[in-house]
Amino acid sequence: MHNVKRVHQSQAATQAKKERERSKITEYLALTNDVISRKKTNDWSKDAFDQTQRLLQLNPEFYTIWNYRRNIMLNGIFSQSTSEEINNLLSDELSMTMAALKAHPKVYWVWNHRRWCLENVPDGPVVNGQPSLQWRKTNWDRELAVVEKMLNADARNFLAWNYRRYVMASMPVQKPGIVELAYTTRKISASFSNFSAWHQRSKVFSSLWNTGQLDPVQSREEEFDLVHNALFTDPDDQSAWIYHRWLIGSGENQEQLRQEIAVIEELLAEQPDSKWCMESLVHYNRLLLKGGCSNSDELEQKCLDFLQKLKKIDSPRKSRYQEISAQIWGQADPQAV
């Protein structure tokens, strides 16, 4: 149970509530018994199919009934249907589960059922004597629109994001990566705090770079502008800081690393108590140190000073800052450890 406020009711009130619910429970149990006994006798009829729908509307978590419903289609309905009828049935199925999804956006079984429906849409209709991909294309396109609706309702729903990646990868006609990049830009512009969208962006960029569709050097440069915008808007929000760390990576581009350190120092001057500025400066200066640099004593001292301050302003994580300090001391003077 999540986000359900606690209410303590009197015994009489609880009793009255139970009375009111009793008839509903009786009805639900009778329906459950009916469907389960049909399942046991391999009843693949349309009647049984309709009964599963009634039951799933009451309880979408009942995974066995979703299984049974699919088995009725596989073992009963499909064999008596034309391809067109199967396509219509699966389209109806997708519409029916939309209502369940709106009411229960985090029930895995509903997402899972939609997946199965989409994967079973037949090829067709026949165009010029050949089965076309039109039905599949229509259903998958509609599915992408459904996921976008779900992400409009809750931009951090990780089931919806996972499902989105699955849909994008399965569509008979693939969307170019650049379109997905634009989608994450929209999501991030709506809220810099949406780490799910930043995460997706890291995956899309990796794929665009690996396939040679985007120039990694130039697009990275441009990307820093967007991230700076987020960091300066709310320096306490960790989403863009974590993403920034991905953009820097292991810091092999030292010039870029130094530029970014300068930008963060500028922000720190404005926000002298910013934990994320200091934490990031420690991390990035240590990358510089690892890469080898001339002013290492000065950088080590800088890191130690930040870590000292971090231990005070971010005390829950003081052990971590302590351990990093000890590592720096170890590097600076092996005798001191």
């Binding site: 149970m1 299984n67 960790q238 005390s315 829950p316």
Partner: protein, 279 residues
């Protein structure tokens, strides 16, 4: 909590066995429900805890579990094929409790987990998915059982995990989300397997979990003021045990079962909880 007799042993075992799906060779969530890997692990865990594994047709259950591994290395939950790193952990956990881990294609399983690793050091439900503390737990614990923690980017992951603690003391599961008692277990277990449980403030977390209790009816909620349930009570108590809270038995963070049972089976991995306090 040291009350293992609070529930009737025979009744419990009887219920578990009544959930057996003889057609599939696994357990369902309830009598007459289809076999699923989730309920199958729960059944094995209850039987192990009650020292009643002799009730189980081990060969058939092992066959059911192994049949769910996919070519990519991940596991499906049942024959309808939903895949998730949760199911991979469940398979590894169950096979190890049954002493049958040698039959698993370990290389493939580890390869899939590595595919799920993100730049923040964390893991998601499938390859490409956002890091989520509960998925981090399942991946890290599976790797711990398989003795393959070497593939974890421990420094980055522990940083990400330590940043799950919010000013209230509670932990969230992903950046910029609300705190929730259940993450006390997902995050803490991962930190304790990686020996970094001191990277968060244990006193503040203890206070947060206790504040989510219902002092009238008992039990723990997702956060203070909400309705309590068994799920959050379980993970709240599990978190408190790892934090060294007085009066609780030790919990094994890899299996989420009493440490003494796992140790007796010779399955204990390296992990470190906070020392048990006396008051």
């Amino acid at each position: 909590m040291g009350h293992q007799d609070a529930l009737d042993r025979e009744e419990m075992i009887g219920f578990v066995m009544s959930c057996w799906d003889d057609e599939a060779g696994g357990f369902g969530a309830h009598p007459d429900h289809d076999a699923h890997i989730l309920a199958t692990l729960s059944a094995i865990q209850v039987l192990v805890t009650q020292d009643a594994l002799d009730m189980l047709d081990v060969d058939r259950v092992v066959k059911f579990i192994l049949s769910l591994q996919q070519p990519s290395g991940v596991f499906a939950g049942d024959s309808f094929g939903e895949v998730d790193t949760r199911f991979l952990y469940i398979a590894v956990n169950a096979l190890s409790l049954l002493g049958r881990l040698s039959e698993l294609d370990v290389e493939k399983a580890v390869a899939y987990i590595r595919q799920c690793q993100n730049f923040d050091g964390g893991y998601g439900a499938t390859a490409g998915a956002e890091s989520h503390a509960a998925q981090v737990f399942v991946c890290v614990a599976a790797l711990a059982i398989l003795d393959r923690l070497d593939v974890v980017d421990q420094e980055t992951l522990c940083w990400w995990l330590s940043e799950r603690q919010l000013p209230s003391g509670g932990l969230n599961g992903r950046p910029e989300k609300l705190e929730d008692v259940c993450y006390s277990f997902w995050v803490l277990s991962s930190l304790s397997i990686l020996n970094k449980i001191t990277w968060i403030d244990s006193e503040k977390l203890t206070a947060f979990i206790l504040s989510a209790q219902d002092l009238e009816t008992g039990g723990i909620a997702d956060r203070p003021g909400d309705m309590v349930d068994v799920f959050h009570t379980h993970f709240g108590v599990a978190g408190l045990s790892l934090l060294g809270y007085p009066g609780l038995v030790d919990l094994d963070p890899v299996y989420c079962m009493p440490a003494s049972i796992i140790e007796a089976k010779g399955l204990k991995r390296k992990w470190k909880a906070l020392p048990r306090r006396s008051e």
